[in-house]
């Protein structure tokens, strides 16, 4: 078949392209947080933008049951009196409310690592922001696919 389009084919293709564009347009705003998670991060960091790295978030890629999703967060730090992680904020961008938990560590913790089970209403990103004692911030985020939502839905 020669690589030229008649009118009908051309129309079908442009319609498909339009649909794709419309979908693309719908997906982009969906990536922005739907709840107060951005504000919570800003409040936590005092407006600073956290750097990527040092924080490790362990979550399943696919959570079958959003009612209880195991989550481990750990932050690289020597945890000495001179250099330690003071707080770690966990937020999610697709729950009705963004806040999940805040952990408070001290040099007495020895290691900044904690494991809890969280609720996720739908497929979304989980974000961890760590605050160091020197005032710097680090973050990590991880997308989780949720098959059954966890907020009584």
């Amino acid at each position: 078949m020669p690589l030229t389009f008649n009118r009908r084919q051309a129309l079908t293709i442009s319609a498909a392209a339009l649909t794709a564009a419309a979908w693309g347009g719908a997906i982009v705003p969906a990536l922005a947080a739907k709840n107060d998670s951005d504000e919570l991060i800003k409040k936590f960091t005092g407006g600073k933008t956290p750097a990527e790295g040092r924080v490790r978030l362990d979550l399943p890629e696919i959570a079958e049951n959003g009612n209880t999703v195991p989550m481990t967060v750990s932050v690289e730090s020597p945890m000495t009196d001179q250099s330690y992680v003071s707080d770690v904020l966990i937020v999610s961008d697709g729950n009705p409310r963004g806040g999940v938990a805040t952990f408070h560590f001290s040099p007495a913790s020895g290691v900044s690592e904690a494991n809890i089970r969280i609720r996720l209403a739908e497929t979304q990103n989980v974000i961890a922001v760590a605050k160091m004692n020197d005032g710097s911030y680090f973050m990590a985020s991880k997308p989780v696919k949720v098959t059954i939502g966890g907020c009584g839905g």
Binding site: A101, S106, A108, S109, G110, V111, I116, R117, I118
Partner: protein, 109 residues
């Protein structure tokens, strides 16, 4: 509501000074989000354990603030560095101010 007894497990009862001790704790609690509605459309009141602290011999080693996004029957696992012997006290505080307290002992040599 009946007295809730948390289940707490330390990965060791005796530790050398400087060792990391792992704590696992589970407590029965509904963790009602305050966003759900009952059959007749009324909002079910929020009931959340919003604060958790762990002290060893009176000194705080770890604490956390919980939001409604924490699962029912909250489980928590964390570590601390053993410094001195004493009771390891875990406290959960409910929205209405009631406390759930659990205790284990740790001997540091």
């Amino acid at each position: 509501m009946a007295e809730v007894k948390p289940r707490i497990k330390l990965d060791r009862k005796q530790a050398k000074k400087g060792d990391l001790v792992e704590v696992k704790a589970l407590v029965s609690h509904i963790m009602e989000t305050g966003l759900r509605k009952d059959a007749s459309g009324n909002i079910i009141a929020r009931k959340i354990l919003n604060r958790f602290t762990c002290t060893v011999n009176g000194k705080e080693v770890f604490s956390a603030d919980f939001e409604p996004a924490i699962s029912a029957n909250p489980y928590i696992q964390f570590k601390f560095r053993a410094q001195e012997s004493g009771p390891v006290v875990l406290t959960w505080i409910d929205d209405d101010g009631t406390k759930i307290v659990g205790e284990e002992s740790l001997t540091v040599t």
